[in-house]
Symmetry: C2
Subunit: 203 residues, 2 copies
DNA sequence: TTGACTGGTGAACGATCGTTCACTATACTT
DNA sequence: AAGTATAGTGAACGATCGTTCACCAGTCAA
């Protein structure tokens, strides 16, 4: 992407700041106020430059200012590749993508999350308190890590379906495989395949 | 939250749909078009009802329609508690929060992510290819899982600082602790504490 | 020195947008 | 029978918003 002038960079930062603060893109006049520019035309010039250089897109509607994918990503949680010698990261550089739940996993209702309780899947790097991201599906292939509801209680296990029974295998030697046969009267429902994991640790 | 009438629910769904499609909240007239309502007043009545019941907030500005925290969360990836007997989840019910990166961890530049390479931290449930979410800080307390840059190369390890040396301890018995003394001439820089983890698995 | 680019002011036009007023109709409760 | 909530139409007002036109000034390369 083409480099920005100082003023253009300030303009882009003001757009990001406004979005963080209000949740909406700014109008020309709001941007002008933030930058100390009296004329909407002055603001427009900057935005046209930003559009020409690929940082934003302008839609002819109220608050129609869009950020390009690259900038949109950087505005969230950027994924850093190499860490350079200078500051942790300079603005809008040195990132290889962004942690965006929607882009990463998809959105509800196809995708949802279940909180994992217990240490039965530590062998698969899934720990107590983690959020398992589940792509909803009525069935999953044998051996996949799946979220399964047994009598309404959700658990995350490696899943195997056999003739007349399902087997739930933990990833922890302290837990024996659990076999549930069809004639047991239990309601076993596959919620979907576990496609991701989100953990919060420390303070 | 107060229950919605069918029409009000349709209206709320239209707001969500418009935001998913365009990234912006709809205007009264856009909403009216989506719902087959000719008068802006008809739309406004519904939104006033939604506001009264706590689903949205209305700001007197272009596209000033905000969703309440609860609904905002449900529009992303909801975290499900108990899974009821019916459909996986009914719309806007039965969730205990949302997986939202900003709300979960904070935002750039205080927070960023680093891709983990290797299996040195499997004992802590951190695996090859995971994204470690890092809260930027120049120093971390002893024993914390931290992201550290050694000569510009980022690694995630348990961190200990002692007089004149730092020790990086892996969570995998196959890796010995790594001790780096100050007089070795290596540049060791603490990037911050690892406060989260995001993984993508399966297909 | 003639452009091209950047960074502005000021005014104005038409479209969009939030808001308000007056009026109609149905359904349910009191 | 009166009141309240829902669900609309239609018109209008003023504010906001995107867009455009004319004009000015500094910098820098051709």
């Amino acid at each position: 992407m083409d480099p920005l002038t100082l003023r253009q960079r300030r303009c882009l930062e003001a757009v990001l700041a406004h979005r963080r603060r209000t949740g909406l893109p700014p109008t020309y006049r709001e941007l002008g106020r933030a930058l100390g520019i009296a004329s909407t035309q002055g603001v427009r010039r900057h935005l046209e430059a930003l559009e020409r250089k690929g940082y934003v897109r302008m839609r002819a509607t109220a608050r129609g200012l869009e950020l390009s994918e690259e900038i949109e990503g950087a505005a969230g949680i950027p994924i850093l590749g190499r860490i350079a010698a200078g500051r942790p990261v300079e603005a809008l550089e040195n990132f290889e993508g962004a942690v965006d739940m929607g882009a990463l996993y998809g959105t509800y209702p196809e995708v949802f999350a279940v909180r994992v309780v217990g240490d039965s899947m530590t062998g698969a790097g899934i720990r107590d308190g983690d959020l398992a991201v589940v792509r909803a599906a009525p069935k999953v292939e044998n051996g996949a890590v799946a979220a399964v509801a047994i009598d309404g209680e959700a658990t995350v296990k490696r899943f195997y379906a056999e003739r007349g029974a399902v087997t739930l295998v933990a990833a922890n030697p302290r837990y024996a495989p659990r076999i549930i046969r069809e004639n047991e009267g239990r309601e076993v429902r596959v919620l979907g395949r576990v496609v991701g994991l989100v953990r919060r640790m420390g303070t």
